[in-house]
Amino acid sequence: MSDAAANHTPVVSDTPEHRKALLDGPQKFALRVGLIGLIAFLILSGIYYGAEANETAKVQQPFLSFLSGWMFWTLVGLGSLFFLLVQYVTGGRWGILLRRPLESNCRTLFLVSLPLFLVVAATMIMGEKSIYWWARHHHHMHHHVEGEAKPESDAKKEKTQIAAAKVAKHGDDSIFNNISPHLEVDEDEKVNDLLNPTFTVIRGFLYFAAFGLLIFVMLKKAMTAEYHDNLDVARTARFSQRYVGSFGLFVFAIFMTWIATDWVMSLEPTFTSSMFPVIMFDNAAVTAYAVSLLTLLYLKRKGEPRFANLFPATEQIHLGSLMLAFTLAWTYFNFSQYMLIWIGNLPEEIPYYLKRTRGGWGWYASLAVLFHFPIPFLLLLFRRVKSSPNALRNISAMLLVVVFFDEMWWIQPSMSHEHAPKFYVLMDVAAWVGIGGAWMFVFFGQLKKHPLLPAREMYLLEAYHHGH
């Protein structure tokens, strides 16, 4: 055994028992938090059902809150998939420590996000009580109430009805009056060829299937590259990972666009923004990154010797700077979208922001911006902050919360809450905490299954730190 290999002693201490001792605690904690969150969500939903007078809204609100929580954690999985693909393609040093948390998040996407997608799929096929306007519209088009006249096939008349219904439902709210029947968007056609419930549900499963296949192939190759006894086979696997990863990024970009369109952007009838998937991707990246960083910092704090050595202040500064970059990107993307929609002031687009800046949402948005840009920006500029484990942990945790509130802001204002009981916000938080607990429970379980560091590539990191 050569000297270089002898330096890899950390690998020996990475036993299942060791990992169990490290990760059992947080896993149990996640389970408890998750259960409390889910129970709270169910109780609050029940109370809401009783308290809300509107027959439709009392059914819709729990689903909308669920979507907020579910979307957040799904994005954690998708963001992790993105980082993992980039890591496999570029093989940068930054990803060696992050690899295991990212891989575990990707697996969790299937173990938690996919089963819970059934709830979202359910609301897509719930007809007139769906949270999606197109599902309701589809219902009106195809299941008219007996005794009433069949809805006019004439698109204009249909639109007039919808506009009138919107005004009736939301009262004399000028925001909704903006969505007037003279818009150039043909909603009937939109529902017929893309946003019909069956097709949208099938597409949802297709996204999971495609990503599932991708993750399966990638992780299988990763296993071969890391553990196969024949080094030639391992090397071939590592090289083929690059090509699969490149192809994967291609698929990821397109599917991420469709996911953003199908699950979130389509909550608004006429809103279209090519920047929106990019913003959503950035949030996915930030959350995936924050979860992974928190895991590393936890392991470091627990006195894991390898993490203390391999995740020193200099490495923290690098990873913290990457966080800074994603925070800046979020600001850039959001400012561009906001400014262009504001200055264009088109009736299709502007209601999106009008709804999201009125009725309290304006204050909410300003606070979200404050915690998403100026505060983390100013903090992460300083090396002293980035090199402090506690500060970096707090900033990561803060960003997780802020991104959730940002995503809630995309989703909740799609319904008018003017006359609604205001505690629906708590339902969102409960759903987020509940699903998050389940997510972290599975995540830690997955993390325990494999050595915490990719042994064969550790020398890259060790050589780097010895060099300093």
Binding site: L231, F239, E457
Partner: protein
């Protein structure tokens, strides 16, 4: 299972299956002196200039002459000699403006952002890439000035108190452009010049003739290489890098706003700012390669601009090319998803209308052809890479062409029109190439085209360097 892997094979670091040989930042066996001999002697004309220099300079200067003719005729006759009309009031002028300014972005990205990201491969290419930026911005600036029709009133673009009580329209991104581009130009020049100061001092000390010593001495501003000088130099260089970094994003974002703040279908796209920035970097790296590949061959600079540098640039081109292609996908997808009659109708016009060929041309140039770069063998082939870069430059020009040509068919068919450039459009555009290559060749002739200072820092300690800032990743 994993615990035994290393013991079983008894391999050292070589077990990591994905690691290839460490790339070389500097080839050959150089010392502090030989770096000056190889680079500085080109600028001081101790080394004879190759024949190709004279050919490119002559061709560039001839085209520059054509530019002078075209502009003189334009100033005599007015912008009516161009093909612009209504609805296509922005013709070649805006296409070329955006194209040139986009090219400039790679220079700033290489010199500023890659410095902040500690990318060592920037070192050999940053100097001439920055020069490229400055000349490209000059070429870009020509077009809006000429398009104004009365360029002698260009100072009206600046807000200054005047008797007419006339101010720029501050809500127009065209007014923002004035500030963005002039800031960008100023910072780029300062950044470039500050980086040059220690190199000028080296030339001052190594020049064979008195006049050269005098000129380089003036330019080096009294540089003595003391520890104070170095400390302040490195500080100011880092600060300028920090200032330049946001400019990479702001300038082309504002250029994209020129289109996106309108409500013209397909122009009013929220993805435009990052889409433009990425496209700019894509075309900029293509231009860097177009310049680097011949330069290193003609001046035998393979030791400094190694295959690694070329490979890195090619990879950046591939990555940004894919991102730009995502932009094309996103535009079409969102236009269809919106089910807006005009967005989708204009998309169909763009793809299958009278100018449809230009859309497919851009898809071919920016998406199909760069796929070649996946294969390392082809990335390493100078001729292939040079050709792909030229194709990418053409593709990025077509991208702007496709955007501008949207104006021919947007909302009401009664207002539709056609657009064709005239010979004077072409003469002006080709003339700016002349301007670019004239200045660039003069730069190659009189200024060290690779930073000697930074190359020396990369040298190993035993040769008098700083081991690439003491990085353990450095070459042996």
């Amino acid at each position: 299972m994993s615990t035994g892997v290393l013991e079983q094979h008894g391999d050292g670091p070589g077990v990591a299956p994905h690691v290839e040989a460490m790339p070389l930042a500097i080839g050959g066996n150089h010392s502090l002196g030989s770096v000056v001999d190889s680079i500085g002697d080109i600028a001081t004309c101790v080394k004879p200039h190759p024949r190709e220099w004279y050919i490119v300079f002559a061709a560039g200067f001839a085209m520059f002459g054509m530019f002078a003719v075209a502009v003189t005729y334009l100033l005599t006759m007015g912008t009516g000699i161009w093909g612009i009309n209504v609805p296509t009031a922005w013709g070649f002028a805006i296409i070329n403006f955006v194209w040139w300014i986009g090219i400039g972005h790679a220079g700033t990205l290489i010199s500023a952002i890659l410095l902040l990201l500690h990318q060592r491969w920037r070192t050999s290419i940053n100097r001439f890439a920055e020069a490229m930026t400055i000349f490209a911005v000059m070429c870009a600036g020509v077009f809006p000035l000429l398009h104004m029709g009365r360029p002698w009133l260009a100072y009206w673009l600046f807000p200054f108190p005047n008797n007419f009580a006339m101010w720029p329209q501050f809500r127009s991104p065209l007014a923002w452009d004035v500030f963005a581009v002039s800031t960008y130009f100023t910072v780029s020049v300062v950044f470039w010049y500050v980086g040059l100061i220690p190199d000028f001092a080296v030339l001052r000390d190594s020049s064979p003739t008195k006049i050269q010593k005098w000129i380089y001495g003036m330019l080096s501003m009294g540089w003595r290489g003391s520890a104070y000088h170095w400390r302040r130099y490195e500080k100011v260089y880092l600060i300028l890098a920090g200032i330049s970094t946001p400019l990479v994003f702001s300038v082309h974002s504002i250029v994209s706003f020129d289109f996106a703040v309108s409500i013209v279908p397909l122009w009013h796209a929220t993805i435009f700012p990052p889409f433009f920035v990425i496209g700019a970097i894509f075309s900029g790296f293509a231009m860097v390669l177009v310049l680097a590949i011949p330069l290193r061959k003609w001046y035998h600079l393979e030791d400094f601009i190694t295959d690694w540098h070329i490979d890195c640039c090619a990879k950046v081109m591939l990555a940004t090319g894919m991102m730009v292609s995502y932009g094309y996908f996103s535009e079409v997808w969102m236009a269809w998803y919106s089910h807006s009659e005009y967005e989708w109708g204009t998309s169909k016009q763009r793809m299958f209308g009278p100018y449809g060929w230009s859309f497919w041309c851009l898809i071919f140039c920016n998406f199909v052809v760069p796929q070649i770069l996946w294969v390392k063998k082809w990335r390493m082939n100078s001729i292939v890479l040079f050709s792909v870069s030229i194709v990418a430059l053409i593709g990025m020009w077509f991208e702007r062409y496709v955007i501008v040509i949207t104006l021919t068919r947007e909302y009401i068919p009664a207002a539709w029109g056609r657009y064709a450039p005239t010979i004077w459009d072409w003469a002006t555009f080709i003339g700016t190439f002349g301007m670019f290559f004239t200045f660039f060749m003069l730069f190659v002739r009189y200024v060290p085209m690779i930073s000697m200072t930074e190359i020396r820092e990369l040298l190993p300690k035993k040769s008098g360097g700083r081991d690439g800032h003491a990085s353990a990743e450095g070459p042996p």
